[in-house]
Symmetry: C2
Subunit: 145 residues, 2 copies
């Protein structure tokens, strides 16, 4: 099991937009840099737009950021691209036997702990800003990488 690559595609896209803010960055350019199908890229961009992270206009060329990089966290992106659905990070087997004492109580006894783990992970994501990633990328480029 893995969290969908839409998440890292979104991170990559935002970094690319920022690093090329002096020119028009199109969805096709992003598709070329990520090596991901343009339709998938546009789907991700569409979600980022809906979340208020980027701006785009149908027909008008160029994607731009809607707010400064230090105000975009991994959590914002994770939520925007719907990395983990509402059912939660953990998949509980669906029909424990209600006729078994353990079967009918295991869900209640486990759920809060699973939620706690997921929340801890999400809180960690809130600590990481896109500015962190982009400054690393730019540093590496400057060093000739």
């Amino acid at each position: 099991m893995q969290i969908t690559s839409r998440f890292t595609i979104a991170i990559h896209s935002i970094a690319l937009i920022e690093c090329n803010k002096d020119m028009k960055v199109t969805s096709n350019i992003i598709a070329g840099s990520t090596n991901v199908n343009p339709v998938i890229v546009r789907g991700v961009l569409s979600q980022l737009k809906e979340a208020g992270i980027i701006h785009s206009r149908q027909g008008a060329s160029g994607i731009t950021l809607a707010r400064p990089l230090d105000q975009i966290t991994f959590y914002d992106i994770y939520k925007a691209v719907d990395s983990v659905k509402d059912e939660g990070l953990f998949h509980f087997h669906e029909h424990p036997n209600p006729d078994c004492p353990v079967g009918r109580n295991i869900h209640a006894a486990t759920d809060s702990r699973l939620t706690q783990i997921q929340t801890t992970m999400e809180n960690e994501m809130k600590q990481i800003k896109l500015s962190d990633v982009v400054s690393d990328v730019q540093m590496n480029i400057k060093e000739g990488n």
Copy 2:
């Protein structure tokens, strides 16, 4: 995306074994309580056995725990059933364009942060013991649930 139900199946199985330690708990009984196919259950049990969490013998009826419940954490189980493969929790799009400065540096700039998030989640899992879950289950049963 969700973490495979093998994880919660394993938790359920261990709780069931503990709560019925006075009788023989077979893989079929576990399959009945979890409402999961017996072959899947045996696969999970096989992984728990390999991780040293349970005991079982081919032909001999009954699964038993290999160590006390307070010495089994969610992390132990998560690792045992291979919830997240070696590639990591996050799926990075596979072929960023090496001819693009951002494309060839995004991986290096992002990886450590993704690992950090995963590690935080796994550390939280180490804090939760099976004894916590089982005592909640038993409490609920006593209360008539």
